[in-house]
Each structure stands twice: as structure tokens, then as C-alpha cells.
């Protein structure tokens, strides 16, 4: 049997949802795989929603908003773009970034809506089923996705993405405008750090572990694991319990 992907779409009320309705009124046909959640603005899409959709088995997730400059709420889609950009960078770490898409469909673009959905459905069909969908999800990827979701939900990433437009387009608290390239550097290293830290946390949920075993399991250099452990301990997210011989064993708080 052909693979029929499960696709979830988040549509903004004013443009893309209206565009989807127009596709209907115009009887434009597209594949029946998509299920839609209506929100008022694409800027409402919390990164968590996309990760959760993937976690519960979506083969693809598409976010649609008004064209840039045409947002019903002035600039909500610019915020959506920044958040989605972060989601994609995170998902790249587990090779899932091609399962999500952000695009713009206006209220008058019924044909475009049908086309975007058809293309995305075909694209996901070609990719094949999500390794974490179905009855036998890949545990390792699922754990890594959880780490990503936790990392993106943490205040560090949310503060960075929430302030991105202000500090790269206007100024930071010191009155300086931060170069986008410089910002991206900071952003990318924060993504990798937070991802690894949360992988450690996810792993420690199972059992208490040593730095060495964490390093081996997560395939991260032990010295890097140690740095993360120090940070996580200072944040009060982990602590060490008993010693195995002279090796400290860490657990999640």
C-alpha cells in the first residue's frame, strides 16, 4: 500500500485559513492528508506545538501565515518566521528539518494554497514515514526530539528568539545594533549547547549516570560533557548522588 502521510497544518485565521476556504469555494482539489489547526496569527505558533506534532507522529508539519508585510496583526508573521527558523535549526540536528515548512498564503490565493499543500504532501510522501511515527517509534530519535523540545522551551532560547528582531533590527539594552551574522553565531552555538545539555537531562531521566557513560552514550567528548554538567548543576537541574568507586554519578533533580 502506498504511504499516506499524516500532515498537520497550522493556519492563521486571516490569510491562510481564508485562502484554504477560497480553495474550497473554487473547488480546487488537493490531497486529503492534511489536518488543520486554526490560530489567529502564525505568530501564535509556539515552537513546542511543532515539536509535539512531530512527537505524536506527524510525518510533516506546515505553518502558513499572511505574506510578509500583509500581517493582520502588523508583524506577527515576522515573529513566526524567527521562531520557525529556530525550529528548523534545531530539527536539522536530528535530520528532521525537511519535515517542516513555513510558507505564506494570502486570503486571495486559493490556488496557491492547493498548490502548496499538494507540493508539501508529495514532498513528505517522497521522504517516507517519520521514524518516530507509527507503532514502533525510534526511541533514540524520540529522546533527541524531547531534548530539542525542552531546549527550545527553555528561557535561554526563548529569550534569544524573542529578542532577535529587536536587537538585530533596532538595538540591544546597550543601545547597539547587533550584526545579524554575529547574532546567528551566538544563536547557533546556543542551540548546540542547549541541545546537548538537554540530551544529558533526558538521558539522566532513565538512570543515574557518570560523565564517562554519558559521553559514550551521547557521543559527546567527555570534557564537553563535564562543562555541561557544571552548567546544569549551577542551574540546579542536576546533582551528583553516590560515588561508584571514585566516579561521581549524576541524577536529574
Amino acid at each position: 500500500m502506498d504511504f499516506e502521510p499524516k500532515i498537520l497544518g497550522f493556519l492563521c485565521n486571516w490569510c491562510s485559513y481564508a485562502g484554504a476556504d477560497l480553495a474550497g469555494v473554487s473547488r480546487m482539489q488537493y490531497p486529503p492528508n492534511i489536518r488543520v489547526i486554526r490560530v489567529m496569527c502564525s505568530g501564535r505558533i509556539d515552537p513546542q506545538f511543532i515539536f509535539e506534532a512531530l512527537r505524536v507522529g506527524a510525518d510533516g508539519v506546515i505553518v502558513l501565515g499572511c505574506h510578509l508585510g500583509d500581517c493582520h496583526y502588523l508583524e506577527g508573521n515576522y515573529e513566526a518566521e524567527k521562531k520557525f527558523d529556530m525550529v528548523k535549526r534545531f530539527l536539522k540536528l536530528i535530520n528532521f528539518d525537511n519535515r517542516v515548512r513555513l510558507d505564506w498564503v494570502s486570503a486571495s490565493e486559493g490556488a496557491r494554497y492547493a498548490q502548496v499543500i499538494t507540493e508539501f504532501t508529495d514532498h513528505i510522501k517522497a521522504l517516507g514515514p517519520s521514524p518516530i511515527g507509527g507503532d514502533n517509534p525510534d526511541k533514540k530519535i524520540l529522546n533527541n526530539l524531547k531534548a530539542i523540545e525542552d531546549a527550545a522551551s527553555g528561557d535561554r532560547m526563548r529569550a534569544l528568539v524573542g529578542r532577535e528582531r529587536k536587537i538585530t533590527e533596532q538595538e540591544n539594552v546597550y543601545g547597539e545594533q547587533v550584526d545579524l551574522e554575529k547574532f546567528n553565531k551566538v544563536f547557533d552555538s546556543a542551540i548546540v549547547e542547549e541541545y546537548q545539555r538537554h540530551r544529558i537531562l533526558v538521558s539522566l531521566e532513565e538512570d543515574t549516570k557518570s560523565i564517562k557513560s554519558l559521553a559514550a552514550e551521547l557521543e559527546i567528548d567527555p570534557s564537553v560533557v563535564l562543562e555541561h554538567i557544571v552548567c546544569l548543576k549551577s542551574r540546579g537541574q542536576i546533582d551528583f548522588g553516590e560515588f561508584m568507586g571514585i566516579t561521581p554519578m549524576f541524577f536529574k533533580m
Binding site: 481564508a18 501564535r44 512527537r55 521562531k83
Partner: protein, 560 residues
């Protein structure tokens, strides 16, 4: 599937057949039967037309007899019918927010006509998602605020004057702000108006007379709106006039700033003398100053191209009108109109075109890829029908340039917190459903500020915007949507005071008070939800679209 039920939640699901629009493709009885198996659902029913009198009565009966406290309607689209069903459940004592619309027509049966089986499965799944969401919905109250019964119209052209007069005639204290020294806008320049042939000055004088005699209307000329604070029913507007500042308390604002005309600098040898714009021709005609005998007009100059994709709407008619006026005075004049497409909609305008042809005006088409070449005294235009270049002599060249957005639009849009579209014209809330409104409550739009329109349309829209504006200030209080952003007391501890929400709010609805605490002014909030998706510590709740509610839809999508 989880059989876990939310305490005391009783959901009713009504599945509409919409005649054969839905029922023709999928079995609505089967869908309704399926819905019965969903958590919290205690009653389901399929209707031929849920939106009919009978259908609405069935909803009311269902709510009363089965003690429902949540209602789902699976039907066309919430964008047209949600208000009706909300009203219906309100009539039987349910809070209107305890309603969820599920779209199984516009986004299901109409678009999967060749896949009845898949469409049926999709309908069931989206209803499952809708039931999951409705189970988590909470009752909300609309916010009630006082309304100041005053209006401000920004822009004193024909549309603005009409709107202001209409509001003032309804008894509202109205303030009309015009940037120029006198009222009238483009009417000051225009010669005669199509399709009546009336003198523009005659219309303008009559409008001015009515403005002068209206005691409810205050006019500010050579004036500018410099600051706008507040919200619907309660705006505080600062107007600068000759260095003097006036502060006004305003209930509603109508934007009627009109548009500007493109000056075709460097195009087709434009010089403002021998080669002028259609707008400049109006002035010449008014002053009886057209001496030329060979006149060529070029349409769509700087319009409908890559830079400006839109059609300016008024230029075809202006050209036809002016060509006829010249012909009336001087029947021997040779007039050639070079066009790309001619738009003369309706009987009156088409009649104009026929008359111009009968009068001997020559129409030659050209292509954007092969624009006419303007030489000192002749124009060369390639004609695709004969496959040759035609030379037309001229002693007056008239360029029809489009209306373009005013430079000041951006500044005003920022003050009003309303959007502009890609060509920097003002963007209405919805092109069909709310054409005179902005998404921001209490602000309205009319005339060429929105899109190039002629005088007739400017007047129509002026009345329309006044009508919409008066629906607000004719009441002492106004209700605004309760689905807003919200920082509940029990989440106060989560708030770190990072101010990211303040940065991302486009409506300045979030601020800090003297105690350095985040305050959300509900009435300013439009419910976009950006602050909720951004809040670094998940403290802000977006009512009616809470994390929990959206996640419940996602989980129902996943199958649990």
C-alpha cells in the same frame, strides 16, 4: 483512544449535511455516529442545514434536553458562520466561547471530491480534534468599555468630507483634519467628473457649504495628526495646526487620506509642458488652455508593470472623458489613445467608450514589452495586428499615471497600529467581510487611501465608513472580544520581568506598572497570541487559544 473524561464536560456535536455539499460526498450519519464515541460527547445529531431555522432550533433543543455545556458544529467554515452559532448557544444560556467550529466543507468535501473515503476519515479526525479543543475551552466575557461619542476623519478630500458630514449629520461631534490649506483634495484640480459631466468645483462648493453650515463639524486645515494614544471609544489624538497643538478625545477614527499621483519623471520625455500627465490635463482643460490639435494619450504609464503591479482604476475613464471634452470643443482634433487594456465596467462607463469611438477617437493597443517610442513630434508604436510600427504625430502628449500611496501612510499606519499592503496603501480587515474596517477596533478606512477609486466610489465609501464608525459611537459602551492575552495571578511568579512580551506586542497592550510588574491592557489586545508564543517562561496565557487547548488538538490529531 483515551476514554478519560473531563469533569462535567458535556459536548454536543452537530454535523451539517449542507444539502449535498457535505452529505453528497460523505455519510454525515456515520460521522455523527462516530462523534458519539469521542470523550465527553453526550449527544450528536446530523442536520440537513445546521444554519437553517430548523438546524438552529435543533441545537437549542439539544443543549436544553441533554444539558450540553459545549457545542461543536461540523460544517462550512467558521469565517462565515461562527458568529451565528455563537449567538445561538448564547440564546439558550451558554457562554458563547464554549463553541468550536469544525470545517468539513470548505476544507474537506469541496476539495477532496475524488476521495470520498479519505474525506470521511478526515472529517472524523478533524471532529475528534474539535471535540478535544472544545472540552478544554473556558467561558469568557467580552470586555465592556465606555465610548466617547466623537469621531475624527483624517483627510479632507471628497471621501473624508462625505464621511465627516455623514457622521456630523447623525449628531456626532466630528473633527475633520486636512493637511492642505483648503478642503477638497483632488477635487480642487479636477475639471469635470465622469460619468455625469458635472463640474468638480460645483460638487466641492456644495460640500464646503454643507461643512460650513454644520455645527457638529470642526475643520482643521493645514493640520496634521501627530500622536494617537488609547483604544476604541477612547482615543486621545494630538492635532498640530499652525504650531498650535490641540488634544482631542475621540471615539472612532476614519482614515480618508486619499492617494498621490505618480509623476513620470524621465518617462516618455515627460516635461510638464508638451508632455504632461492626465491630471495636469485636467487643470489645462479647466483653464481652457488646450490649444493642441494632435493629441496622444498613453495609458498605464508606470502601472501594471513589475514595479507597480496594480491597475489604478480611474485612468481609462479619465482619458475617455478628457478625449470627449476636447472633441466637443474641437471636433477636428486628432486624438489617439495608446492603451494596453481598456477597462470600462458597467453600462455608463462602456457608453463613454462607445461615444469616444463614435466621436473619432482612435484606439491603438501596445504591449508592455514594446512600449511606444516618443520622439520630438511623433510617437512610434508597434501594432501587433498589422505587425508594423505606426507613427503618430503629436503636439500634446498626455501620460495617464496611476494613483500611488501617500508618503505619509507609514507614519500614520504606525500611529494607528494598522497595516499597509505591499504598495503601501492601507489594508482593510477583510476585503469582503469587513471592507471598511481595520483589524484594530474603532478605526475605519474609505476612499483612495485603500485603493485607487473614482469620485463616485470615494463618496460611497465615505458613507460606508461613517456607517460602520457610527455603529460604535451610537452606544454608550462597547464590547470587545474577550479572547485576549492574559497574565493570571497564579502565573505571576513565573514572570521574570524580561520584557520580551512588551517588545513583540504590536499594539502596545503590554507595559510595566510602577511596581515593575507586567500589565496587559485587555482592551488594547487583539488576541494575536505572539506574546504567549514568545514569553520566556510560559507565563502569559492566550485565552481561547491556550497552550493546553492547542496541544489537545495536536494530541487528538496524533490519535490520543
Amino acid at each position: 483512544m483515551s476514554e478519560k473524561k473531563d469533569k462535567d464536560v458535556r459536548v454536543g456535536v452537530f454535523v451539517c449535511s449542507c444539502g449535498s455539499n457535505i452529505g453528497g460526498l460523505i455519510d454525515v450519519k456515520e460521522v455523527a455516529e462516530y462523534a458519539k464515541s469521542l470523550p465527553n460527547v453526550v449527544f450528536t445529531q446530523d442536520n440537513l442545514y445546521t444554519c437553517s431555522e430548523t438546524g438552529l432550533a435543533q441545537i437549542k433543543k439539544g443543549v436544553t434536553e441533554h444539558n450540553l455545556n459545549r457545542v461543536v458544529v461540523a460544517s462550512c467554515t467558521p469565517r462565515t458562520h461562527e458568529p451565528l452559532f455563537r449567538e445561538t448557544i448564547k440564546d439558550v444560556g451558554l457562554n458563547e466561547y464554549l463553541f468550536q467550529f469544525v470545517n468539513i466543507r470548505d476544507q474537506c468535501t469541496w476539495v477532496h471530491m475524488k476521495y470520498p473515503h479519505e474525506a470521511l476519515e478526515k472529517a472524523k479526525e478533524v471532529i475528534r480534534m474539535g471535540v478535544a479543543k472544545v472540552s478544554k475551552l473556558e467561558a469568557l466575557e467580552n470586555i465592556v468599555v465606555d465610548a466617547t461619542p466623537t469621531a475624527m476623519v483624517i483627510g479632507g478630500g471628497v471621501s473624508g468630507i462625505t464621511s465627516a458630514l455623514s457622521l456630523a449629520n447623525q449628531g456626532f461631534e466630528t473633527h475633520l483634519v486636512e493637511k492642505d490649506a483648503q478642503l477638497g483634495g483632488k477635487l480642487n484640480v479636477l475639471n469635470k467628473l465622469f460619468p455625469t459631466g458635472q463640474d468638480a468645483s460645483e460638487l466641492l462648493e456644495s460640500l464646503k457649504e454643507r461643512v460650513k453650515n454644520n455645527s457638529n463639524l470642526t475643520v482643521y486645515t493645514s493640520a496634521k495628526v501627530t500622536n494617537i494614544e488609547g483604544f476604541v471609544g477612547n482615543y486621545e489624538v494630538e492635532v498640530q495646526q499652525n504650531g498650535k497643538t490641540t488634544n482631542l478625545k475621540i471615539g472612532v477614527i476614519v482614515v480618508a487620506v486619499g492617494a498621490s499621483l505618480l509623476t513620470p519623471t524621465g518617462k516618455f520625455g515627460y516635461d510638464g509642458k508638451k508632455r504632461i500627465t492626465q491630471y495636469e490635463l485636467e487643470e489645462k482643460l479647466k483653464n481652457n488652455d488646450v490649444k493642441a490639435n494632435n493629441i496622444v494619450m498613453i495609458q498605464c504609464v508606470g502601472a501594471r508593470n513589475d514595479e507597480r503591479k496594480y491597475c489604478s482604476n480611474v485612468c481609462c475613464m479619465s482619458a475617455l472623458k478628457n478625449a470627449l471634452l476636447i472633441k466637443e470643443k474641437n471636433p477636428d482634433a486628432n486624438i489617439t489613445i495608446l492603451f494596453r487594456d481598456l477597462y470600462t465596467p458597467g453600462t455608463l462607463y462602456e457608453e463613454y467608450y462607445r461615444r469616444a469611438r463614435e466621436a473619432g477617437v482612435i484606439f491603438l493597443s501596445y504591449k508592455l514589452e514594446k512600449e511606444p517610442i516618443v520622439e520630438e513630434n511623433t510617437i512610434k508604436v508597434y501594432n501587433e495586428y498589422i505587425g508594423e510600427e505606426i507613427s503618430v504625430p503629436y503636439d500634446l502628449l498626455v501620460l495617464s499615471t496611476p494613483l500611488i500611496a501617500n508618503d505619509g501612510n507609514k507614519e500614520l499606519a504606525q500611529m494607528l497600529k494598522v497595516p499597509l499592503e505591499e504598495n503601501k496603501f492601507f489594508l482593510e480587515a477583510h476585503v469582503k467581510l469587513r471592507p471598511m474596517d481595520f483589524a484594530t477596533d474603532g478605526v475605519f478606512i474609505c476612499g483612495a487611501a485603500k485603493w485607487p477609486v473614482d469620485i463616485t466610489e470615494s463618496i460611497t465609501q465615505g458613507y460606508a465608513a461613517a456607517g460602520r464608525a457610527s455603529t460604535i459611537i451610537s452606544h454608550d459602551t462597547i464590547e470587545v472580544e474577550g479572547a485576549t492575552s492574559f497574565l493570571p495571578d497564579y502565573n505571576r511568579d513565573l514572570c521574570t520581568g524580561c520584557e520580551v512580551c512588551i517588545n513583540v506586542c504590536p499594539y502596545k497592550a503590554i507595559s510595566k506598572n510602577e511596581d515593575d510588574e507586567i500589565v496587559i491592557t485587555q482592551v488594547l489586545c487583539k488576541g494575536c497570541g505572539v506574546c504567549g508564543a514568545t514569553c520566556t517562561n510560559h507565563a502569559i496565557i492566550i485565552r481561547h487559544f491556550t497552550d493546553e487547548q492547542i496541544l489537545s488538538e495536536i494530541y487528538a490529531f496524533g490519535g490520543s
